[in-house]
Symmetry: C2
Subunit: 172 residues, 2 copies
């Protein structure tokens, strides 16, 4: 079941999240796409919002709203909670970021624009968060729901466990 040694083949985004890679390039690419997506929809990616997204992308992990707020206020933006919450809520609405319920935290979406159901893989050791493709999961969930007449609108799928690196470290 935990059939390892199939790293790059299946879900490149999730695999990348758990391995060394060029954060800056990866962040830049996503940011460019985020701008395109926003423009296409007429949504305004203002300075605070854009900066909030950059902060999430740079961190490449889930961040609490107050953590983002600290960074924003240090850069001259507002110092009060709504500043961060509004920016983050905007990003989530636009599909540029996701909220991780289990952590009361937020993370940048790694493939904005593309329709997708995401599942989050949260490492309990190093706290990295990967966004995995979850279409089959969503299908299974909708089947279970449909069986009792429930109509799924939004799904929250989060797994807590060990990422490949931490797993190796633990085994050693």
């Amino acid at each position: 079941m935990t059939d390892r040694d199939t790293p790059e083949t299946t879900d490149s985004a999730a695999a990348r999240a758990f391995s060394a890679h060029d954060h800056e390039a990866c962040a830049g690419e996503v940011l460019a796409r985020a701008e395109a997506v926003s423009a296409a929809r007429g949504a305004r990616l203002t300075p605070v919002r854009r900066r909030a997204l950059e902060i999430l992308l740079e961190a490449h992990r889930a961040m609490g709203a107050y953590e983002v707020l600290d960074r924003l206020s240090a850069e001259g933006f507002g110092k009060q909670p709504p500043v961060a919450y509004r920016a983050l809520d905007f990003l989530v609405e636009q599909g540029l970021a996701h909220r991780i319920a289990r952590l009361n935290a937020f993370t940048a979406c790694v493939h904005p624009g593309e329709a997708h159901s995401a599942a989050f893989l949260i490492c309990r050791a190093c706290h990295a968060v990967a966004e995995a493709e979850a279409d089959p999961v969503r299908v299974a969930l909708e089947a279970a729901a449909g069986a009792v007449g429930f109509q799924v609108e939004r799904a929250t799928v989060e797994a807590l466990g060990l990422c490949p690196s931490c797993r190796e470290a633990a085994a050693a």
Copy 2:
């Protein structure tokens, strides 16, 4: 996909949660099993803990910790947050209740003792919460995780949407 008119056949617990039924009998049955489970493990289902579980069972929906606390304190138990959190945490640890991350709330487990992966179906209209069988969902999730070398330990699967009754009401 949303193939209705299959109410009692598939997942009786989840189906029951969304239809009229004898709450008292259903709660009594679950409570009896909870006691058996606790006894079998040597876990102490003390008065506060037992009462907290009863409160969840009677409500038959997700309740916030402070809501449970209000009821407990009205009945002579402690009035401070840790009283409720400790009781609820115990219930969750013992598998007698679940925490719904999305709602910051708790709900009684409808089949304690049996090993199961649960998915929660949360009605955004009436706020009912059903616990559905989620083994296939879990399998799909583990497949997605395994593909990137991630080892799932605990999974949070929650769907927000419309329950059968509210869906009918909305359609009318």
